[in-house]
Symmetry: D2
């Protein structure tokens, strides 16, 4: 396969650092430039991150020496893809600029997730939504904007999809125990989260509740018709480094006659047909996107966050039980927030777009 | 007031230690003996706990020198009250023995909580259930067994009570983030809980689900008619020292027209009339049993676990919102698991029983 | 006693919040104004701290409604004392301005600690150094600047003093396990400190090493002659909320014939004669400034940080052993970094200055 | 290479679990039996560990189905090697029994570490001490007992060796910040270590102080002549999952004229000649046993515990500074306590013994 050239926007942040590392190890991509804000532009990557690189692997040598560019289309190298880990506020305009300049933007930013013609992709669930890229190109620019969901959305959407298809969903009560890495650096102050639970994460509940519905929606003509059930969520931060734990209480349309059937459809889920066409070529797609744990005390962040044949890319589900009646399901899940929920999502998303010839 | 003599059963465990400290500071009680299992009997209290006292205040001097007795009615001093922090298995028979020997047992053990003639008391909610003591005395023994609820039950029951009385309850989805101190010592191993969430606590969900219904039940003639709604709970352990955080999603019978009304009835709740008769004499009753927080990111374990005019005896509630429809409420709460959920519950319970002349 | 009026500079930070709370409860002081930087000036205290008040007690009601002033002598009320929790950089000039304007500044900032005519006070150790205030007044201004040491210095200096006086000191190897609260808010990011140890705190080792020598120095005429031994320290941050743990390895000039003598002189230490003259009038002076623990596994932050008759104001010492030879001592200590190491130090310092009629 | 058959003693504990996993992945070894105490014997491995497997990778399938045997030479399969993770008390006799039965015992237990004819091996430092195996075989049995050091000893010994060889050592002051996994399961209770530092680990300081001297000793004829300098250590437990952090303050015999020379000899250290003969064949030997970090805030447990070309097998050193005089060195290090400090040490040790034809 021809390597795709790429640039990384916001390459110094927590997601940016992981993108830098993962892309440097990935055989399909060639990092031609790394960008960041004014504060960092002009510095060598290793100088800038001398005291704030946060991964437990070292900065890849070839990146360490690169000079950081300012995040502007005319400051960075022309490339096939711009991986964006920009803060939402800055992504708003900058991603438009890069799209106009012809980049295919694989974005972790929330800025354009709900734009009508921008797909919000989890390849296993809605690879077909990528079709919207054509609409963008027909109407707007030679580039494209494709978004990944919020880190908390991923586990939720992945687990709800097979249940939604099989039983229908009336409503969902979601609770989350979110890892600190989700807040980045500086993120949540150590003093506030040590020995504590913080029951609020700005904007998180709204994102989760709306993103799931778009992802589970149907592409009809030129737009996505959202799924139509309400979600009530409470998002909390807990003193855990990586791995979002979530509980879902799902009221279904159909009766659940046998709870083991729920286990089975979750364990058997491999992705929609449009995804399965390409699956074996996708290096970031884990063999099983959902792993069902039978142990009474699993999944747990420390034990299951790196689950899957591609570490950190599978969702682990457990404690699948009936709720208070015969049309309700109660379960727990873990997803790795900075891999499946961030950098890994971008890589898998870009792989998918490459497979479908959008890049 | 005449001081009541008391003995402490299982005085060396985590709850036992707190009972020792709190009772030693309490003007109504006189500790005449401390008991524990064979392993400890015969040792001075301070010798036994030389390396395992876990409170951040020292062992009270007068207790430090006491010799630990074996937990048998004929080994310990006769006393008005036996405060029991026994493991449930041992409590099963031993509490019967002590009741037969004439002790009023204020028990933290779960062994007899669901016995038909044993009251399960949160004074603010069901002080009237103490009436069952009479039944015990009429039919069984000169002593009595009165139980406190599980540490996780307390917050749940306290917050549900005013809502139950006002709107009726159809069902409750409860999630908990429980503190490590609830598991005692040794309890959950450090290696398993550090940087982790454990989504299972043996027996906890069953206890919570059944205890709430008994506490909110009505005393009719000689027994409690339980409240009649289902609860689905998921109980998890998180790396927090003290303070159980819980979220409740409550489906009500009546419509919630104005969510501020829910805030108001919670903030205004002071206890049932049978409790209010005695309240001002109860030193362990906080002025407000429920404190409503308005901040978007409260309650939090570290900030709110010691809330209340009696530190650790009030429940803090926050983030009171509508759920997915007009007859559902979503909220968060904190209760101190080893004070309101354990030793403090026993003291307040015993105070109430004294006020009502059962001791 | 006539109440002293006071203002609090940097009243919104972590130390500032604790000063606000403690001063509001203290019978000698009257808070007439609270100040902060431009970002906060003009806001009500409770509005400004609505989501970032970090104490587990609520904002005192009378302060909650006060309007925050800008930190300038002509913006805040005239008062007897200015308690300063300013960042060192800003303290540099601002404290001079307030001293010129006639305030007695009790400062937690490091800016002026090493100024030749500024005393660096731990009342038990060097209350006599306050004499330098006279020098300031004779030569510079009607106000005064008096400083408290760095939070890590306190435990070190307190424990070294009696040993220094008895055995002489040749050198000290110090290691610290410092609590997160020492870094304030935002301070060290949660992601960086969770499940981790960070072996560097900017500027800390230099401060500790130099401050101890000034505190243990002698006032001769118009200046302090520093103590003359070298200290080698390694300061680390650990995931603990409050309470600095430290180990000291002390090479002494005299032989230590009996290690129990070291225990004895530490346990017996009450303060220098100049301090003892006033001690019983000082409400923030704990009965014993040093508490010797005999348990093999003490002191510990969680158990000993609030030690003392004034909680958090005593230093706990334990594991007192010989080192590799007969003129070395190895020991551990705990001091509460935001009480004895910050706000409490300021209060005790101000009390001392009042007693000596400097305020 | 001919595969060596092996059995694992105490295969269900925390070290045993890691041995099971690592050996199952290692091409040189064939696990023919797994043993444990009476409580576990007879159960399938996966049944026994259903709720207590603690690694973040699953139990290897072929081991999952194996039946656990009782730890007795006549209960388990005959094999070339017995990897022992036995508690020291039980190892005392059982290891003798296995040695008599002809097994080469690679032991993590402390029981025989100080036996006169038992080598205590870190291959990079004293591979030549393996010669003692011959003495055992000449005088005692057909098997052998070879021991690995305590988890805390490894980092200390590895870093001291090149310094000892170059400058000589007069004395060492060591402080440790030890990870929770070192205490195993149940190990240190969660309640005691959360938000805390515990300044005592039973037996640890004695082990560290004596083991280092044996490892750095010289084999002369039939015994080891220990290195002759004193060590004073303080061992603490901190709330970190994996990775022991340590500081060393080293008084050297020779003057340190240039501290960069210390950095250089540490960074250049590859092992003694006897080790280098075999190094390239040893799959568990990291390319660099010591990694020198230049960043001011490294090494850190979370970032550096998995350092090295064989993850977890290299020691990271940083903050190399002079002490209070010209013949003292102050530095920090990290070593992975359950890899380099336990299971990995056993594998590398066994590889070395195979290379030297003792197995």
């Amino acid at each position: 396969m021809k390597k795709r050239s790429c640039v990384i926007l916001a390459s110094t942040g927590t997601v940016g650092q992981r993108l830098v590392y993962m892309l440097s190890q990935h055989p399909w991509f060639d990092i031609v430039d790394i960008a960041a804000s004014k504060r960092s532009a002009g510095l060598k990557y290793k100088e800038r991150l001398k005291d704030s690189w946060h991964l437990d692997v070292d900065i890849p040598e070839e990146i360490a020496e690169m000079k950081i560019k300012l995040t502007e289309p005319n400051e960075v190298e022309k490339a096939d893809i711009a991986f964006s880990a920009l803060p939402s506020k800055e992504a708003k305009q900058l991603e438009l600029d890069f799209a106009k300049a012809g980049y295919f933007i694989q974005s972790k930013a929330s800025a354009h997730r709900q734009d009508r013609d921008v797909p919000l992709i989890i390849p296993e669930l809605n690879a077909d939504h990528l079709e919207l890229v054509k609409l963008q190109r027909d109407t707007k620019w030679s580039g494209a904007i494709v978004t990944d969901p919020n880190c908390t959305t991923v586990g939720l959407a992945m687990v709800l999809k097979p249940i939604y298809d099989e039983f229908g969903i009336k409503s969902v009560i979601a609770n989350t125990w979110q890892a600190i890495s989700g807040s980045g650096i500086p993120g949540v102050p150590g003093l506030l989260i040590n020995d504590n639970v913080i029951p609020f994460i700005a904007g998180e509940e709204e994102k989760v509740e709306s993103e799931v519905l778009k992802i589970l929606g149907n592409l009809e003509k030129d737009s996505i018709i959202n799924a139509g059930f309400p979600i009530a969520s409470t998002c909390t931060r807990v003193p855990v480094t990586d791995g979002h734990f979530e509980t879902l209480y799902i009221n279904t349309k159909e009766k659940i006659e046998d709870i083991q059937k729920v286990e089975k459809i979750l364990g058997d889920f491999k992705g929609i047909p449009e995804f399965l066409k390409y699956k074996e070529n996708l290096t970031y797609a884990p063999k099983d996107p959902i792993i069902v744990r039978k142990e009474i005390n699993r999944p747990q962040p420390r034990l299951d966050r790196l689950a899957g044949t591609v570490p950190g890319m599978a969702i682990s589900v457990g404690r699948i039980r009936k709720g208070v009646d015969n049309s309700s399901i109660n379960l727990c899940l873990i997803s790795h927030n900075t891999i499946r929920g961030a950098a890994g999502a971008s890589l898998l998303g870009a792989e998918m777009a490459i497979m479908k010839n959008y890049i």
